[in-house]
Symmetry: C2
Subunit: 185 residues, 2 copies
């Protein structure tokens, strides 16, 4: 396969487009991140990279807690808005129906079908970004998206961010069942 070398680039497919919520100076604020994943199973934890100068990071450093909200694809416009503008300049506390988590200092976006409540357990300061590791203390899922004990990903209908092309996508068709299709090589 003919390949080009692009030099060191932050290229990975797919990326999520999730909204991080935190109280900053006593008011709920929200920012979009694509650099967010799971960090461990025990403790259940997320890892996310946030630019050092971000307003939401200030709130996370103050309160040591935050939410990860998974939006549906019909929320692309507000997700993009929360990625473009800073809470320093725009009041984002009126964009959503906000419900408090089990931890009342964590603002959850009711419109998002999945919300994680997180408490910061580690921060790793890299040059441009702070990697925040948060223990997941509660998971909220839209009842309609539960199929028995499993979550139906087509009901969650998550927004997917594609880097380089800078496009938001929907989740596509099922290709295979994991832990099954590869049992025999």
């Amino acid at each position: 396969m003919i390949k080009l070398k692009l030099g060191p680039r932050t290229i990975l497919y797919p990326m999520p487009a999730v909204i991080i919520g935190a109280e900053v100076e006593g008011k709920p604020n929200f920012m979009t991140v694509a650099w967010c994943s799971i960090a461990s199973h025990k403790p259940p934890a997320v890892a996310m990279a946030i630019k050092q100068e971000r307003y939401t990071l200030k709130g996370i450093r103050e309160t040591h807690c935050f939410s990860v909200n998974v939006p549906s694809s019909d929320m692309a416009k507000v997700v993009d808005f929360c990625g473009i503008y800073s809470g320093k300049d725009r009041d984002k506390s009126k964009l959503f129906t906000i419900k408090p988590g089990d931890n009342p200092q964590i603002p959850l976006i009711d419109e998002c079908p999945v919300n994680l409540e997180c408490t910061t357990i580690h921060t790793l300061d890299l040059k441009s970004h702070c990697l925040v590791i948060g223990e997941i203390t509660q998971t909220h899922v839209k009842q309609d998206c539960m199929k028995g004990k499993k979550i139906d990903p087509r009901c969650v209908d998550p927004l997917i961010y594609a880097t380089s092309s800078e496009t938001y996508h929907r989740l596509g068709e099922v290709v295979a069942k994991a832990y099954e299709v590869g049992k025999v090589p």
Copy 2:
């Protein structure tokens, strides 16, 4: 919106399904991970969570370098195989066409349209998993997937992992253009 509380769960949508490559005891080995993201822009870096007992982690600890390989959706079977079986028990060095990176100790999967070469710069030991932070030192992209200076995500055709339902998906249709659709709230 009516929601259920599931307790602390490692739920996030979407997740990638990428293959990590590393030399273990002098031989290339590969494992599938879904818990992988970008950690920072400067330095360009990835963060990924690997179970403490994984064979590939042993190689990363020995060599301090690894590859992140983004498979296309037609590779679901081999991706799943690399997630199910350990390199302790199965020789995975013959599953792919392996090309050395600029760092000859990093095995790259030629069949994957995107490959990152990484050098470990931090490890964070959580209980079940080790969070490995790797500086990206080179990016290889299939030439056919370049549209000018941008990468066409439909050509990469990345495999997407949906947790809970445990299904692999393709990337779906474009919903909106990022940094555009949200300019006006």
